[in-house]
Protein backbone atom coordinates (compact mmCIF):
# COMPACT_ATOMS: atom_id res chain seq x y z
CA UNK A 1 0.00 0.00 0.00
CA UNK A 2 1.25 3.44 -0.93
CA UNK A 3 -0.06 6.38 1.03
CA UNK A 4 -0.41 9.75 -0.69
CA UNK A 5 -1.41 12.65 1.58
CA UNK A 6 -2.77 15.84 0.02
CA UNK A 7 -2.98 18.93 2.23
CA UNK A 8 -3.74 22.56 1.57
CA UNK A 9 -5.96 25.43 2.60
CA UNK A 10 -9.69 25.19 1.78
CA UNK A 11 -10.68 25.91 -1.85
CA UNK A 12 -7.08 25.81 -3.09
CA UNK A 13 -7.92 23.19 -5.70
CA UNK A 14 -6.87 19.95 -3.94
CA UNK A 15 -9.84 17.96 -5.22
CA UNK A 16 -9.39 19.18 -8.79
CA UNK A 17 -5.75 18.10 -8.72
CA UNK A 18 -6.68 14.73 -7.18
CA UNK A 19 -9.36 14.06 -9.80
CA UNK A 20 -6.86 14.65 -12.60
CA UNK A 21 -4.33 12.42 -10.85
CA UNK A 22 -6.88 9.62 -10.27
CA UNK A 23 -7.94 9.74 -13.92
CA UNK A 24 -4.33 9.13 -14.98
CA UNK A 25 -3.74 6.50 -12.26
CA UNK A 26 -6.73 4.48 -13.46
CA UNK A 27 -5.56 4.83 -17.07
CA UNK A 28 -2.22 3.38 -15.89
CA UNK A 29 -3.99 0.32 -14.39
CA UNK A 30 -3.45 1.36 -10.77
CA UNK A 31 -6.14 0.90 -8.14
CA UNK A 32 -6.51 4.05 -6.06
CA UNK A 33 -8.90 4.59 -3.16
CA UNK A 34 -9.75 7.95 -1.65
CA UNK A 35 -10.54 9.35 1.78
CA UNK A 36 -11.55 12.91 2.52
CA UNK A 37 -11.02 14.19 6.05
CA UNK A 38 -12.93 17.36 6.74
CA UNK A 39 -14.45 19.18 9.66
CA UNK A 40 -18.12 19.81 8.92
CA UNK A 41 -19.00 19.08 5.33
CA UNK A 42 -17.56 17.14 2.42
CA UNK A 43 -19.05 15.70 -0.75
CA UNK A 44 -15.82 15.10 -2.64
CA UNK A 45 -15.92 11.37 -1.81
CA UNK A 46 -19.31 11.04 -3.52
CA UNK A 47 -18.20 13.07 -6.54
CA UNK A 48 -15.08 10.96 -6.98
CA UNK A 49 -16.94 7.69 -6.44
CA UNK A 50 -19.51 8.69 -9.06
CA UNK A 51 -16.88 9.86 -11.54
CA UNK A 52 -14.41 6.99 -11.25
CA UNK A 53 -16.21 4.18 -9.43
CA UNK A 54 -13.34 3.70 -6.99
CA UNK A 55 -13.72 3.03 -3.22
CA UNK A 56 -14.10 6.32 -1.36
CA UNK A 57 -14.93 7.45 2.17
CA UNK A 58 -15.30 10.63 4.11
CA UNK A 59 -14.38 11.20 7.72
CA UNK A 60 -15.72 14.17 9.62
CA UNK A 61 -13.30 15.22 12.31
CA UNK A 62 -16.13 17.05 14.05
CA UNK A 63 -14.97 18.08 17.51
CA UNK A 64 -11.35 17.14 16.78
CA UNK A 65 -8.88 19.14 14.77
CA UNK A 66 -8.62 17.49 11.32
CA UNK A 67 -4.88 16.83 11.64
CA UNK A 68 -5.46 15.26 15.06
CA UNK A 69 -8.23 13.15 13.57
CA UNK A 70 -5.89 12.13 10.77
CA UNK A 71 -3.35 10.84 13.29
CA UNK A 72 -5.80 8.74 15.27
CA UNK A 73 -7.64 7.16 12.32
CA UNK A 74 -5.03 6.78 9.59
CA UNK A 75 -4.00 3.23 10.57
CA UNK A 76 -7.62 2.07 10.26
CA UNK A 77 -7.87 3.97 6.99
CA UNK A 78 -4.90 2.10 5.50
CA UNK A 79 -6.44 -1.22 6.60
CA UNK A 80 -9.70 -0.17 4.95
CA UNK A 81 -7.86 0.68 1.73
CA UNK A 82 -6.23 -2.77 1.73
CA UNK A 83 -9.56 -4.45 2.43
CA UNK A 84 -11.23 -2.77 -0.56
CA UNK A 85 -8.46 -3.99 -2.83
CA UNK A 86 -6.67 -0.75 -3.66
CA UNK A 87 -2.92 -0.26 -3.97
CA UNK A 88 -2.81 3.52 -3.46
CA UNK A 89 -4.65 5.40 -0.72
CA UNK A 90 -5.21 9.09 -1.43
CA UNK A 91 -5.99 11.09 1.71
CA UNK A 92 -7.21 14.65 1.30
CA UNK A 93 -7.16 16.87 4.36
CA UNK A 94 -7.43 20.56 5.10
CA UNK A 95 -4.79 21.49 7.65
CA UNK A 96 -6.49 24.34 9.41
CA UNK A 97 -4.42 25.65 12.31
CA UNK A 98 -1.18 25.45 10.28
CA UNK A 99 0.91 24.21 13.20
CA UNK A 100 0.88 20.50 12.37
CA UNK A 101 1.40 18.66 9.17
CA UNK A 102 -0.49 15.53 8.18
CA UNK A 103 2.38 13.74 6.38
CA UNK A 104 3.51 10.31 7.52
CA UNK A 105 6.96 8.81 7.06
CA UNK A 106 7.19 6.74 3.86
CA UNK A 107 4.11 8.47 2.49
CA UNK A 108 4.22 11.05 -0.27
CA UNK A 109 3.26 14.47 1.07
CA UNK A 110 1.71 16.87 -1.43
CA UNK A 111 0.76 20.40 -0.44
CA UNK A 112 -1.56 22.25 -2.81
CA UNK A 113 -1.31 26.04 -2.81
CA UNK A 114 -3.09 28.56 -4.99
CA UNK A 115 -0.88 31.26 -6.39
CA UNK A 116 -3.67 33.80 -5.90
CA UNK A 117 -3.28 33.63 -2.11
CA UNK A 118 -0.72 36.38 -1.72
CA UNK A 119 3.06 36.36 -1.71
CA UNK A 120 3.31 35.76 2.03
CA UNK A 121 1.29 32.51 2.08
CA UNK A 122 4.41 30.30 1.80
CA UNK A 123 5.80 32.04 4.88
CA UNK A 124 2.61 31.59 6.86
CA UNK A 125 1.69 27.94 6.59
CA UNK A 126 4.66 26.28 8.30
CA UNK A 127 5.07 22.49 8.30
CA UNK A 128 2.19 21.83 5.92
CA UNK A 129 4.58 23.26 3.31
CA UNK A 130 8.04 22.68 4.75
CA UNK A 131 7.53 18.95 5.40
CA UNK A 132 5.85 18.18 2.06
CA UNK A 133 7.63 16.44 -0.82
CA UNK A 134 5.81 18.25 -3.60
CA UNK A 135 4.19 21.65 -3.73
CA UNK A 136 1.53 21.88 -6.42
CA UNK A 137 0.79 25.50 -7.30
CA UNK A 138 -2.70 25.83 -8.73
CA UNK A 139 -4.69 28.49 -10.58
CA UNK A 140 -1.60 29.65 -12.46
CA UNK A 141 -3.86 30.93 -15.22
CA UNK A 142 -5.23 33.61 -12.91
CA UNK A 143 -2.01 35.52 -12.28
CA UNK A 144 0.73 37.01 -14.39
CA UNK A 145 3.78 34.99 -15.21
CA UNK A 146 5.95 37.38 -13.22
CA UNK A 147 3.81 36.76 -10.14
CA UNK A 148 4.06 33.01 -10.66
CA UNK A 149 7.83 33.23 -10.65
CA UNK A 150 7.90 35.32 -7.50
CA UNK A 151 5.40 33.01 -5.75
CA UNK A 152 7.49 29.99 -6.69
CA UNK A 153 10.56 31.73 -5.29
CA UNK A 154 8.77 32.31 -2.01
CA UNK A 155 7.77 28.62 -1.85
CA UNK A 156 11.36 27.50 -2.41
CA UNK A 157 12.59 30.02 0.12
CA UNK A 158 10.37 28.35 2.77
CA UNK A 159 10.99 24.75 1.65
CA UNK A 160 14.33 24.44 -0.10
CA UNK A 161 14.17 20.73 -1.00
CA UNK A 162 10.60 20.67 -2.23
CA UNK A 163 9.65 19.86 -5.82
CA UNK A 164 7.49 22.63 -7.24
CA UNK A 165 4.90 21.70 -9.84
CA UNK A 166 2.82 24.45 -11.42
CA UNK A 167 -0.59 23.29 -12.47
CA UNK A 168 -3.64 24.51 -14.23
CA UNK A 169 -5.63 21.55 -12.98
CA UNK A 170 -8.90 22.45 -14.70
CA UNK A 171 -6.98 22.25 -17.97
CA UNK A 172 -5.05 19.13 -16.90
CA UNK A 173 -1.69 20.84 -17.16
CA UNK A 174 1.16 19.91 -14.82
CA UNK A 175 -0.43 16.65 -13.63
CA UNK A 176 1.94 14.14 -15.26
CA UNK A 177 4.98 15.01 -13.07
CA UNK A 178 2.81 14.48 -9.95
CA UNK A 179 1.70 11.06 -11.18
CA UNK A 180 5.31 10.06 -11.90
CA UNK A 181 6.29 10.86 -8.30
CA UNK A 182 3.24 9.06 -6.88
CA UNK A 183 4.06 5.88 -8.79
CA UNK A 184 7.63 5.98 -7.42
CA UNK A 185 6.46 6.25 -3.78
CA UNK A 186 7.65 3.42 -1.48
CA UNK A 187 5.22 1.15 0.39
CA UNK A 188 3.96 2.36 3.73
CA UNK A 189 5.40 0.56 6.80
CA UNK A 190 3.74 -0.21 10.12
CA UNK A 191 3.96 1.21 12.71
CA UNK A 192 3.43 4.53 10.93
CA UNK A 193 4.99 7.70 12.31
CA UNK A 194 4.23 11.33 11.74
CA UNK A 195 6.93 13.03 9.74
CA UNK A 196 7.26 16.23 11.71
CA UNK A 197 7.64 17.39 15.28
CA UNK A 198 4.26 18.65 16.32
CA UNK A 199 4.10 21.93 18.24
CA UNK A 200 4.24 22.16 22.00
CA UNK A 201 0.76 21.73 23.39
CA UNK A 202 -1.41 19.81 25.75
CA UNK A 203 -2.73 16.94 23.66
CA UNK A 204 -0.78 13.70 23.20
CA UNK A 205 0.05 14.55 19.62
CA UNK A 206 1.01 18.11 20.39
CA UNK A 207 3.42 16.93 23.09
CA UNK A 208 5.21 14.67 20.66
CA UNK A 209 3.63 11.19 20.50
CA UNK A 210 4.01 10.53 16.81
CA UNK A 211 2.64 6.98 16.67
CA UNK A 212 -0.35 6.62 14.39
CA UNK A 213 -3.48 4.93 15.78
CA UNK A 214 -5.87 5.58 18.64
CA UNK A 215 -4.35 2.76 20.73
CA UNK A 216 -1.19 4.85 21.20
CA UNK A 217 -3.03 7.88 22.52
CA UNK A 218 -5.16 8.90 25.46
CA UNK A 219 -7.65 11.64 26.17
CA UNK A 220 -10.53 12.13 23.76
CA UNK A 221 -10.19 9.65 20.89
CA UNK A 222 -12.38 8.34 18.14
CA UNK A 223 -12.71 5.62 15.52
CA UNK A 224 -13.02 6.08 11.81
CA UNK A 225 -16.81 5.79 12.26
CA UNK A 226 -17.23 8.95 14.27
CA UNK A 227 -17.52 7.45 17.77
CA UNK A 228 -15.77 9.60 20.33
CA UNK A 229 -14.49 7.87 23.45
CA UNK A 230 -12.21 8.68 26.32
CA UNK A 231 -9.09 6.88 27.50
CA UNK A 232 -7.27 8.02 30.61
CA UNK A 233 -7.74 8.77 34.27
Amino acid sequence: MKLIVFAGPPTCGKTTVIRQVIRRMIAGNHKPSYIKIDVLYADEDEIIKKEFGIPTRKIYSGELCPDHCNVVVLDEAVEWAERVGSDYLFVETAGLCLRCSPYVEKSLGIVVLECTSGMNLPRKIGPMLTLADISVITKIDLVSQAEREVFRYRVLEAAKEITVVESNALYGIGIDPIVRRIVKTVDIEFPMYLRGNPPVGTCTICVGKKEIGAKHHFGVLRTMDQELYYVGE
Binding site: Q145, A146, E166
Partner: protein, 264 residues
Protein backbone atom coordinates in the same frame (compact mmCIF):
# COMPACT_ATOMS: atom_id res chain seq x y z
CA UNK B 1 19.65 27.88 -24.77
CA UNK B 2 19.69 29.76 -28.07
CA UNK B 3 16.25 29.84 -29.67
CA UNK B 4 15.89 30.05 -33.46
CA UNK B 5 12.27 29.09 -33.88
CA UNK B 6 9.22 27.52 -32.33
CA UNK B 7 6.94 25.25 -34.30
CA UNK B 8 3.22 24.77 -33.76
CA UNK B 9 2.05 21.32 -34.88
CA UNK B 10 -1.69 21.57 -35.48
CA UNK B 11 -4.19 19.66 -33.37
CA UNK B 12 -7.95 19.64 -33.56
CA UNK B 13 -10.64 22.33 -33.53
CA UNK B 14 -13.73 22.45 -31.33
CA UNK B 15 -15.51 20.13 -33.79
CA UNK B 16 -12.78 17.49 -33.36
CA UNK B 17 -11.59 17.92 -36.97
CA UNK B 18 -7.86 18.44 -37.71
CA UNK B 19 -6.75 22.06 -38.06
CA UNK B 20 -6.33 23.37 -41.61
CA UNK B 21 -2.91 24.80 -40.70
CA UNK B 22 -0.96 21.63 -39.97
CA UNK B 23 2.39 23.16 -39.14
CA UNK B 24 3.69 26.65 -38.57
CA UNK B 25 7.14 28.07 -37.75
CA UNK B 26 7.69 31.25 -35.75
CA UNK B 27 11.28 32.40 -36.31
CA UNK B 28 13.41 34.70 -34.17
CA UNK B 29 12.56 38.30 -35.08
CA UNK B 30 9.04 37.46 -36.32
CA UNK B 31 6.10 39.61 -35.32
CA UNK B 32 2.92 37.59 -35.62
CA UNK B 33 -0.74 38.32 -34.88
CA UNK B 34 -3.55 35.93 -34.07
CA UNK B 35 -6.95 37.18 -35.25
CA UNK B 36 -10.52 35.93 -35.19
CA UNK B 37 -13.85 36.55 -33.46
CA UNK B 38 -14.24 36.28 -29.69
CA UNK B 39 -14.36 32.67 -28.51
CA UNK B 40 -12.58 31.30 -31.61
CA UNK B 41 -9.64 29.96 -29.58
CA UNK B 42 -7.00 32.71 -29.85
CA UNK B 43 -6.15 32.69 -26.16
CA UNK B 44 -6.17 28.88 -26.11
CA UNK B 45 -3.56 28.92 -28.87
CA UNK B 46 -1.16 31.15 -26.94
CA UNK B 47 -1.79 29.13 -23.78
CA UNK B 48 -0.76 26.01 -25.72
CA UNK B 49 2.43 27.79 -26.79
CA UNK B 50 3.19 29.06 -23.30
CA UNK B 51 2.63 25.65 -21.68
CA UNK B 52 4.56 23.81 -24.41
CA UNK B 53 1.50 21.71 -25.18
CA UNK B 54 2.62 18.20 -25.99
CA UNK B 55 -0.62 16.67 -27.34
CA UNK B 56 -1.82 16.90 -23.71
CA UNK B 57 -4.15 19.91 -23.94
CA UNK B 58 -7.73 19.87 -25.29
CA UNK B 59 -6.51 21.16 -28.68
CA UNK B 60 -3.92 18.33 -28.87
CA UNK B 61 -1.39 20.71 -30.38
CA UNK B 62 2.33 20.07 -30.00
CA UNK B 63 4.87 22.84 -29.61
CA UNK B 64 8.45 22.26 -30.75
CA UNK B 65 11.42 24.40 -29.72
CA UNK B 66 14.13 24.51 -32.41
CA UNK B 67 12.34 21.56 -34.00
CA UNK B 68 12.41 19.38 -30.87
CA UNK B 69 9.71 18.54 -28.30
CA UNK B 70 10.33 20.36 -25.04
CA UNK B 71 11.84 18.39 -22.14
CA UNK B 72 9.64 18.24 -19.01
CA UNK B 73 12.03 20.03 -16.65
CA UNK B 74 12.09 22.96 -19.03
CA UNK B 75 8.46 23.59 -18.21
CA UNK B 76 8.96 23.63 -14.50
CA UNK B 77 11.78 26.08 -13.95
CA UNK B 78 10.18 29.42 -14.73
CA UNK B 79 13.49 31.28 -14.43
CA UNK B 80 14.61 29.38 -17.55
CA UNK B 81 11.27 29.81 -19.26
CA UNK B 82 11.85 31.30 -22.72
CA UNK B 83 8.25 32.46 -23.08
CA UNK B 84 6.57 35.38 -21.35
CA UNK B 85 2.80 35.57 -21.59
CA UNK B 86 1.12 38.91 -21.02
CA UNK B 87 -2.44 37.83 -20.36
CA UNK B 88 -5.61 39.91 -20.45
CA UNK B 89 -5.56 40.25 -16.68
CA UNK B 90 -5.21 43.83 -15.70
CA UNK B 91 -4.96 43.27 -11.98
CA UNK B 92 -2.07 42.12 -9.92
CA UNK B 93 -2.96 39.93 -6.96
CA UNK B 94 0.46 40.19 -5.39
CA UNK B 95 0.49 42.19 -2.17
CA UNK B 96 3.97 43.69 -2.57
CA UNK B 97 5.21 47.17 -3.52
CA UNK B 98 6.28 47.51 -7.19
CA UNK B 99 9.98 48.00 -6.36
CA UNK B 100 10.19 44.97 -4.06
CA UNK B 101 8.30 42.74 -6.48
CA UNK B 102 10.54 43.68 -9.41
CA UNK B 103 13.64 43.25 -7.25
CA UNK B 104 12.62 39.68 -6.36
CA UNK B 105 11.76 38.93 -9.96
CA UNK B 106 15.13 40.27 -11.16
CA UNK B 107 16.82 38.12 -8.49
CA UNK B 108 14.93 35.02 -9.63
CA UNK B 109 15.95 35.76 -13.21
CA UNK B 110 19.60 36.14 -12.19
CA UNK B 111 20.06 39.76 -13.30
CA UNK B 112 23.62 41.04 -12.75
CA UNK B 113 22.70 44.62 -11.87
CA UNK B 114 19.34 44.34 -10.15
CA UNK B 115 18.78 48.01 -9.36
CA UNK B 116 19.54 49.03 -12.93
CA UNK B 117 17.08 46.58 -14.54
CA UNK B 118 14.38 47.49 -12.02
CA UNK B 119 14.72 51.19 -12.89
CA UNK B 120 14.87 50.44 -16.63
CA UNK B 121 11.68 48.37 -16.32
CA UNK B 122 9.77 51.15 -14.60
CA UNK B 123 11.02 53.70 -17.17
CA UNK B 124 9.92 51.46 -20.06
CA UNK B 125 6.48 50.97 -18.49
CA UNK B 126 6.07 54.68 -17.94
CA UNK B 127 6.47 55.34 -21.67
CA UNK B 128 3.33 53.31 -22.33
CA UNK B 129 1.03 54.60 -19.63
CA UNK B 130 -0.54 57.94 -18.80
CA UNK B 131 0.09 57.99 -15.06
CA UNK B 132 3.66 57.26 -13.99
CA UNK B 133 4.27 54.18 -11.84
CA UNK B 134 6.08 54.84 -8.58
CA UNK B 135 8.30 52.21 -6.92
CA UNK B 136 6.59 52.36 -3.54
CA UNK B 137 3.06 51.79 -4.89
CA UNK B 138 1.45 48.45 -4.02
CA UNK B 139 1.07 46.26 -7.11
CA UNK B 140 -2.62 45.83 -6.34
CA UNK B 141 -3.19 49.60 -6.49
CA UNK B 142 -1.97 50.03 -10.08
CA UNK B 143 -4.57 50.89 -12.73
CA UNK B 144 -5.32 48.52 -15.62
CA UNK B 145 -3.07 50.44 -18.01
CA UNK B 146 -0.24 50.67 -15.48
CA UNK B 147 -0.49 46.95 -14.77
CA UNK B 148 -0.34 46.00 -18.42
CA UNK B 149 2.54 48.40 -19.10
CA UNK B 150 4.50 47.00 -16.18
CA UNK B 151 3.85 43.42 -17.29
CA UNK B 152 5.15 44.15 -20.79
CA UNK B 153 8.21 45.99 -19.46
CA UNK B 154 8.91 43.21 -16.95
CA UNK B 155 8.72 40.51 -19.63
CA UNK B 156 10.99 42.37 -22.04
CA UNK B 157 13.62 43.68 -19.61
CA UNK B 158 13.67 41.59 -16.42
CA UNK B 159 12.36 38.38 -18.00
CA UNK B 160 14.48 39.06 -21.09
CA UNK B 161 12.34 36.36 -22.66
CA UNK B 162 13.10 35.54 -26.31
CA UNK B 163 9.42 34.81 -27.00
CA UNK B 164 6.70 37.19 -25.84
CA UNK B 165 2.98 36.51 -26.17
CA UNK B 166 0.65 39.48 -25.73
CA UNK B 167 -3.09 39.01 -25.31
CA UNK B 168 -5.09 42.02 -26.53
CA UNK B 169 -2.75 44.80 -25.45
CA UNK B 170 -5.06 47.31 -27.13
CA UNK B 171 -7.67 46.83 -24.39
CA UNK B 172 -5.79 48.25 -21.46
CA UNK B 173 -5.55 51.93 -22.31
CA UNK B 174 -1.85 51.87 -23.16
CA UNK B 175 -0.21 53.52 -26.14
CA UNK B 176 -0.31 50.48 -28.43
CA UNK B 177 1.59 51.78 -31.46
CA UNK B 178 4.23 53.24 -29.14
CA UNK B 179 4.43 49.78 -27.55
CA UNK B 180 4.87 48.18 -30.97
CA UNK B 181 7.68 50.64 -31.85
CA UNK B 182 9.48 50.10 -28.53
CA UNK B 183 9.17 46.33 -28.81
CA UNK B 184 10.59 46.31 -32.34
CA UNK B 185 13.90 47.47 -30.86
CA UNK B 186 14.27 44.05 -29.24
CA UNK B 187 15.00 40.98 -31.33
CA UNK B 188 12.43 38.47 -30.15
CA UNK B 189 9.44 36.51 -31.37
CA UNK B 190 6.35 38.60 -30.60
CA UNK B 191 2.89 37.06 -30.87
CA UNK B 192 -0.06 39.42 -30.55
CA UNK B 193 -3.58 38.19 -29.95
CA UNK B 194 -5.49 41.14 -31.28
CA UNK B 195 -8.71 42.64 -32.61
CA UNK B 196 -6.78 45.74 -33.67
CA UNK B 197 -6.27 46.11 -37.45
CA UNK B 198 -3.16 48.28 -37.09
CA UNK B 199 -1.35 45.72 -34.95
CA UNK B 200 -2.50 42.85 -37.18
CA UNK B 201 -1.39 44.56 -40.41
CA UNK B 202 1.94 45.75 -39.03
CA UNK B 203 2.80 42.13 -38.18
CA UNK B 204 4.83 39.96 -40.57
CA UNK B 205 1.89 37.60 -40.88
CA UNK B 206 -1.33 36.75 -39.10
CA UNK B 207 -2.95 33.49 -38.08
CA UNK B 208 -6.69 33.43 -38.72
CA UNK B 209 -8.65 31.37 -36.17
CA UNK B 210 -12.15 29.94 -36.37
CA UNK B 211 -13.99 27.48 -34.14
CA UNK B 212 -10.89 26.61 -32.12
CA UNK B 213 -8.74 25.87 -35.17
CA UNK B 214 -6.04 27.67 -37.19
CA UNK B 215 -7.70 28.28 -40.59
CA UNK B 216 -5.04 30.05 -42.63
CA UNK B 217 -2.02 32.35 -42.60
CA UNK B 218 -2.03 35.75 -44.28
CA UNK B 219 1.29 37.46 -45.00
CA UNK B 220 1.07 41.26 -45.05
CA UNK B 221 1.96 42.52 -48.54
CA UNK B 222 2.94 46.07 -49.47
CA UNK B 223 -0.69 46.99 -50.09
CA UNK B 224 -1.58 45.94 -46.55
CA UNK B 225 1.43 47.72 -45.07
CA UNK B 226 0.26 50.92 -46.78
CA UNK B 227 -3.20 50.46 -45.26
CA UNK B 228 -1.56 49.80 -41.90
CA UNK B 229 0.32 53.08 -41.99
CA UNK B 230 -2.88 54.98 -42.74
CA UNK B 231 -4.65 53.24 -39.89
CA UNK B 232 -1.72 54.13 -37.66
CA UNK B 233 -2.09 57.80 -38.59
CA UNK B 234 -5.79 57.57 -37.79
CA UNK B 235 -4.94 55.98 -34.46
CA UNK B 236 -2.55 58.80 -33.69
CA UNK B 237 -5.29 61.34 -34.43
CA UNK B 238 -7.67 59.49 -32.11
CA UNK B 239 -5.01 59.38 -29.38
CA UNK B 240 -4.32 63.07 -29.85
CA UNK B 241 -8.01 63.88 -29.50
CA UNK B 242 -8.30 61.58 -26.53
CA UNK B 243 -5.61 63.52 -24.71
CA UNK B 244 -7.29 66.83 -25.67
CA UNK B 245 -10.60 65.62 -24.21
CA UNK B 246 -8.84 64.28 -21.14
CA UNK B 247 -7.14 67.57 -20.47
CA UNK B 248 -10.41 69.50 -20.70
CA UNK B 249 -9.99 71.06 -24.16
CA UNK B 250 -12.86 71.84 -26.54
CA UNK B 251 -12.64 70.39 -30.07
CA UNK B 252 -13.12 71.94 -33.51
CA UNK B 253 -14.44 69.79 -36.34
CA UNK B 254 -12.76 71.79 -39.11
CA UNK B 255 -9.28 71.08 -37.67
CA UNK B 256 -10.11 67.37 -37.55
CA UNK B 257 -11.33 67.55 -41.20
CA UNK B 258 -7.95 68.96 -42.26
CA UNK B 259 -6.07 66.29 -40.34
CA UNK B 260 -8.13 63.53 -41.98
CA UNK B 261 -7.44 65.02 -45.43
CA UNK B 262 -3.74 65.06 -44.43
CA UNK B 263 -3.77 61.27 -44.16
CA UNK B 264 -4.56 61.05 -47.85
Amino acid sequence: MEIDKITIMGGIGKDGQPEKVEQLDLKMGDIVSIVGPTGCGKTTLINDIELFGNRNTPSQRQILLNGEPVPDDFTFDPSKHPIALISQHTNFLSDLPVGEFLTIHATVRGASNIQRVVNETIEFANQLTGEAIIKGTAMTELSGGQTRSLLIADAVIIGNSPIILLDEIENAGIHKTRALELLKNYRKIFVFVTHDPTIALLSDFRIVMKNGAMQKLIFSNDEEKRAANKLKSMDNIILHYRSLVRSGEELHAHILDEELIGIN
